[in-house]
């Protein structure tokens, strides 16, 4: 078997042309997913069954099904319904990118809400009592005590989910999106050189992951500055 170096040199810039779409999928669904996760978290810890139970069902459904199946349901399944095609969401759902972002958002939101809940549960009960004893309201305790501490506690697991989301964006290529993986598939179809192309693609994702790790490492150090004895 030969290893075609010139093919790699030629195809890497082509794949990198999809970086914008990969980044867009990651950042947009990452941010929307985080907002969704915070809503789900607040529903879960509200102490009200009519908020908690729907959130639990939602999380169960989206964690319990493969993301690829979710993407297919949204992209291929939803347009079957007239109501969807006539709704204000059609401009988004008509586009494969919109469908991919929607699927990734709904999926990551379910996971991240549980990650955040883990952080919230890790905040010491004594701190809540100290807040109560000072006369803080539930909302004030959440904003000023729970949220900052839970964020720090949840961060390592959250960075894991962001990395996982990066790799899930590759699934968007199955619904015609020309992200980095989508472009790679096209090149492979034309050159019949899957080994060189997919290996280079894998390395590109690894470099990305490295960047995300570094970024979260820096955030972790910043948020954890009060856990060090030396100031």
């Amino acid at each position: 078997m030969s290893f075609d170096l010139s093919l790699i040199v030629e195809s890497v810039p082509m794949m990198l042309a999809g970086i914008g779409i990969t980044l867009k999928l990651l950042v947009v669904s990452g941010l929307l997913g985080l907002m969704l996760a915070i809503c789900l978290l607040l529903m879960r810890i509200s102490g009200k069954w009519y908020l908690n139970i729907p959130a639990q069902i939602y999380i169960y459904i989206f964690r319990g099904t493969p993301i690829l199946v979710q993407i297919f349901i949204i992209y291929y399944g939803l347009p079957q319904f007239d109501a969807i095609r006539e709704s204000i969401f059609w401009p988004i759902l008509r586009e494969p990118t919109g469908c991919a972002i929607l699927a990734l958002t709904l999926n990551t939101g379910a996971y991240v809400s549980e990650i955040l809940r883990g952080g919230v549960l890790g905040v010491g009960k004594g701190l809540m009592e100290a807040g109560s004893a000072l006369g803080l309201s539930s909302r004030q305790k959440f904003i000023y005590i729970t949220a900052p501490i839970a964020t720090r506690l949840a961060l390592p697991a959250y960075s894991n989910d962001v990395i996982s989301l990066l790799k899930s964006t590759a699934l968007a290529s199955t619904i015609t999106i020309a992200d980095m993986t989508g472009i790679a598939r096209t090149i492979v179809a034309e050159t019949y050189a899957p080994y060189e192309i997919y290996m280079s693609l894998a390395v590109i994702y690894m470099i990305f992951t490295f960047g995300i790790q570094k970024l979260f490492g820096a955030i972790e150090r910043y948020l954890g500055r009060y856990t060090k004895r030396e100031g």
Binding site: G124, G126, L127, E129, A130, G131, S132, A133, L134, G135, L136, S137, Q140, Y144, I145, P148, I149, R152, R225, Y226, T227, K228, R229, E230, G231
Partner: protein, 247 residues
């Protein structure tokens, strides 16, 4: 100033599920009085003082703080909590805020005091507990004794009418106990109304107006310190005192 007791507890019971933690508690504390509560572990001391600022909800009976009865109304509870400062065994300083922020946050959020004013008050109380130089540090950078003094200052910043102490020295290394007790003694001498759950019997003897002994959820004995220590009436009190004073 009214002559009505600042704290009135009448026929109060507290259940955790089927377990009765407090049995028919009756207690009145006047303005400026200093009460020490002692008793064996699990006797309900902490639960009783935690009911006073409603960290625990009493099951029945009445608790009236400065004329306001504790009920389910959240608004009333926060109004009462503003008047009642609490110091915990495990300090419970907010780890993500520096010392000055620990002291100013509730002043600004609850008492709606300006940042400048809150900082001024905070520095005053940090001086009072003798650690103004630690203002910009994080709690973890302080010793246990210093953290507990900050916790006392944090409670005082709210200008409470009553201070509750829940075993404030139990988590401290022996050499740090005195620095915390000194602050408490100073507070007592200034006329603060205090209820302290503690086993520091020297402290009880020197500052308490009354010592209360609890066992199995009941107030078993209540007396002035000289009477309590030198001439206890109840068998359980005698047994308890002999155990903790024998060493």
């Amino acid at each position: 100033m009214s002559t009505e007791p600042l704290i009135q507890i009448r026929n109060m019971n507290k259940f955790f599920g089927n377990f009765q933690a407090l049995k028919n508690i009756n207690l009145e504390v006047n303005r400026g009085e200093r009460i020490v509560v002692c008793g064996p572990s699990g006797s309900g001391k902490s639960t009783m003082i935690r009911c006073i600022n409603r960290l625990e909800e009493h099951t029945d009976g009445h608790i009236i703080i400065d004329g306001k009865e504790l009920t389910d109304q959240v608004k009333d509870i926060n109004a009462v909590r503003r008047e009642v400062g609490m110091v915990f065994q495990s300090f419970n300083l907010f780890p993500h805020m520096n010392i000055i922020k620990n002291l100013t946050m509730a002043q600004q959020l609850v008492r709606k005091i300006s940042k400048t004013e809150a900082r001024k008050t905070a520095m005053e109380y940090l001086k009072k507990v003798k650690i103004p130089e630690q203002a910009d540090k994080y709690p973890i950078q302080l010793s246990g004794g210093q953290q507990q003094r900050v916790a006392i200052a944090r409670a005082l910043c709210m200008k409470p009418e009553i201070m509750l102490f829940d075993e404030p020295t139990s988590a401290l290394d022996p050499e740090m106990i005195n620095e915390v007790l000194e602050v408490m003694v100073e507070l007592a001498n200034e006329g603060m109304t205090m209820i302290c759950v503690t086993h520091e019997m020297g402290f009880a003897r020197s500052i308490a107006d009354r010592v209360i002994f609890m066992d199995a959820g009941e107030i078993v004995e209540e007396a002035v310190p000289s009477e309590f220590f030198d001439n206890p009436k109840n068998e359980r009190t005698k047994e308890f005192l002999s155990q903790i004073l024998s060493h």
